[in-house]
Amino acid sequence: MEPKLKELVEFIAKSLVDSPDEVTVSEIDGEQTTIFELKVAQGDIGKIIGKQGRTARSIRNILSAAAMKHKKRAVLEILE
């Protein structure tokens, strides 16, 4: 089963925010590393980052675990 990393980030982000319609994820493919840029509504940034960055760290952990399964690296960037 193939992981769908972009959809993964999008699904998690949409589940946590108040304005799911304003969630966008763009994928920048590199040779070894794929960067995912996540953008959410201004008022939702706190929900994505969480207390002491806990939520953001959890999303990154899950993304890396899924990417590692296919021997790839993935980085999540949260845009302000």
């Binding site: 089963m1 769908k4 699904f11 998690i12 946590l16 939520t55 959890s58 952990n61 675990a65 296919h70």
Partner: protein, 217 residues
């Protein structure tokens, strides 16, 4: 989840009042007796019974949590089955038939804890102060149980070291889930004090004798 505190002349009457107020059948609530109350005598008036009644996590919430985890795991490319159980106040999600279990758990449970953190966040999205939070635990291949056994051994070793050397003992850095478990363990041990120190990746528990400064040389 709703929680109310109700009193009545007796515990039974308080329960009846509470069920009416919260408008739920007996099997859908958890009852905690805060004060049994006393029956009055001829000279003295009795004190009323006091109880706390909270709504049990519903199967609706169990299904909601299960569906969320199912979708996340599918998008991660992990083929497996998820079931849920309701135990007291906690929704317990279990993941079965994972082809490579290690990937789901991660180093010292980091992936499993991350999943658990996000599910709790998701389930409590509309939580407001004063309400009871929905508590979800995620497990696979009995990892939580195995980890708890290991931590218990680690703590027991450290406690006997504190007693023999009289010096504080630093445990390895741990995640919040594990630290919480260690603090709960230590609470039952007489004469031992536990505190957490350090930030982020290096946050760890220090055990020391009570009445002793937790300074590590």
């Amino acid at each position: 989840m709703r929680t109310i505190e109700v009193s009545g002349p007796t515990v039974d009457e308080a329960i009846a009042n509470a069920l009416e107020e919260i408008n739920l059948p007996l099997e859908s609530v958890i009852i905690q007796i805060l004060d049994k109350g006393t029956r009055g005598t001829e000279d003295e008036e009795g004190t009323p019974a006091k109880i706390r009644v909270s709504e049990k996590p519903s199967s609706e919430n169990g299904i909601k949590a299960k569906d969320f985890l199912n979708t996340v795991l599918t998008l991660m490319g992990i083929q497996c089955e998820v079931t849920y159980k309701i135990r007291g106040n906690t929704i317990l999600l279990e993941v079965w038939n994972v082809p490579d279990g290690g990937i789901l758990i991660g180093y010292r449970g980091v992936t499993l804890n991350a999943l658990q953190c996000l599910i709790n966040q998701y389930m409590n999205k509309s939580w407001k102060p004063g309400e009871e939070r929905v508590d979800v635990e995620v497990d696979t291949q009995e990892y939580r149980q195995r980890r708890k056994r290991m931590l218990t051994r680690m703590v027991n070793d450290a406690v006997s070291r504190v007693f023999t050397t009289g010096k504080p003992v630093e445990l390895e850095p741990m995640f919040d889930v594990d630290r919480k478990f260690v603090h709960l363990l230590v609470r039952d041990k007489d004469g031992i004090l536990s505190i957490s120190e350090g930030d982020g990746e290096t946050r760890h528990v220090i055990l020391s004798k009570e009445n002793q400064e937790a300074i590590v040389e």
